[in-house]
Symmetry: C2
Subunit: 252 residues, 2 copies
Amino acid sequence: MSGVQSVNRAFSVLRSLSTGPAGVSEIAERTDLPKSTVARLLSTLVDLGAVEQSENSSSYGLGETLIELSAAASPGRNIVSISRPHLQDLVDLLEEDAGIGVLEGRGVYYLDQVNAGQEVQLRDWTGETVDAHVVSSGLVLLAFSSDEEQAAALADPFEPWCERSVTDPVAIIRRLESVRRDGFAWTMEEMAEGINSVAAPIFNPAGSVIAAIHVHGPAYRFPDPDRRDAITRAVVRTAARVSKRLAGSLQP
Amino acid sequence: MSGVQSVNRAFSVLRSLSTGPAGVSEIAERTDLPKSTVARLLSTLVDLGAVEQSENSSSYGLGETLIELSAAASPGRNIVSISRPHLQDLVDLLEEDAGIGVLEGRGVYYLDQVNAGQEVQLRDWTGETVDAHVVSSGLVLLAFSSDEEQAAALADPFEPWCERSVTDPVAIIRRLESVRRDGFAWTMEEMAEGINSVAAPIFNPAGSVIAAIHVHGPAYRFPDPDRRDAITRAVVRTAARVSKRLAGSLQP
DNA sequence: CCCACTGTTCCACAATGTGGAACAGATGCC
DNA sequence: GGCATCTGTTCCACATTGTGGAACAGTGGG
């Protein structure tokens, strides 16, 4: 086998543990390696946190480091679990639906949504993609994206989704500048008549925007003009909390 | 540093990539290793799928293998994303809420739930724990658990949650035997008056039960006696699909 | 008490990983 | 166009590291 033998062997041990916890001799059998080799690799992997040894047992299992690295490898997957309780808190506070989405090309792909259980509520877009320029999440994601990503998004004409959709590139650029400055975005019946929304960005520890949290509701009741600022602050704060949680899940 | 040096270095490279993709020289800087050492480790990690090289670029990023290992390290986290669309399909079909839970000691911890949007619907238990013996998920998880786990669960007396809760250990053991045989469980107003549910098990590729999917509804309309068998089959089929998806997400 | 396993540790040895150097290619500047 | 400065890749002499068989202590079952 090519490459660094010890690294190959270490991953062989990790793969053997993905079918379930095991002891040194069992792993030696599964990987066809001598027990002393397995013991030494396990000791190193335990130090790294990639493997953990059960208490009251000499059984080994996969450890937190792999979850942390995986979270970094695929922000969208882990972020659903991390953000879920925060979305729930937001829903409890504001009594409107909250969700989370990521940028995919020129659209927002919705990863998750928590419903407020209101009798009149909006359709759940989880698993679907909406043009970025007509939703608050999309504006947030574009505003905090790299210049290259923004240039790519602005390269083609914008489609209107309804009467109030903003499609003029100059107006959108101005808008993105103010979103970047404010740290949040509101859209008022720009994706569809009767739907308003507000969103804020979630950053990874390196400082790049990776997702956006939004709250939306029917225009006739959302937002209550007296609560608009409080709603905005709550969404911004929730997104910041999720950013921190993500950072926490990456630190050893 | 103790342990196998090459393995330590390989994980140092992986950790440096968790803050964002980078090239050989950048990683050498981040890890304080010579470029040739980093190049050799990267080559091995690419072969393993732990790192992938971007097309049209010599930038390296974390790869699928870490996601696969992480899924094995923490079945509960990944399973929420995988099962979500399947729960949605079940809800669309049956028009009742569906959820997923895992065994935690003698209780079921609910990871996720999809609501049917019915005007009369049950409370969402996501994030909460219920005694295993009073819910269909709990009976399923215990029925397919190891003898040790079952013995541990049966070691202490069972608490009734309402008038129809089954708490006699002998009756519960008999029940678990038939659940294991049938591949599903029904509970009729055993957790609370007015709530019925049905559950089926999700297995990991090694064949161990790791979660259960359930559908529940108000007893006055769920289940419709004419549809009970169809409902059961739908739940069992959905759980089997999720099991297969999990297997697929672990295979390279 | 004995046997059969387990995980851990030791250490002689040689195979592997090291890392500086050289090289080819790309990019930017003058 | 030429040069400088980076990049990633490859080579290879060398010595350090990882190897793996053996020995040992501990545990559980008969």
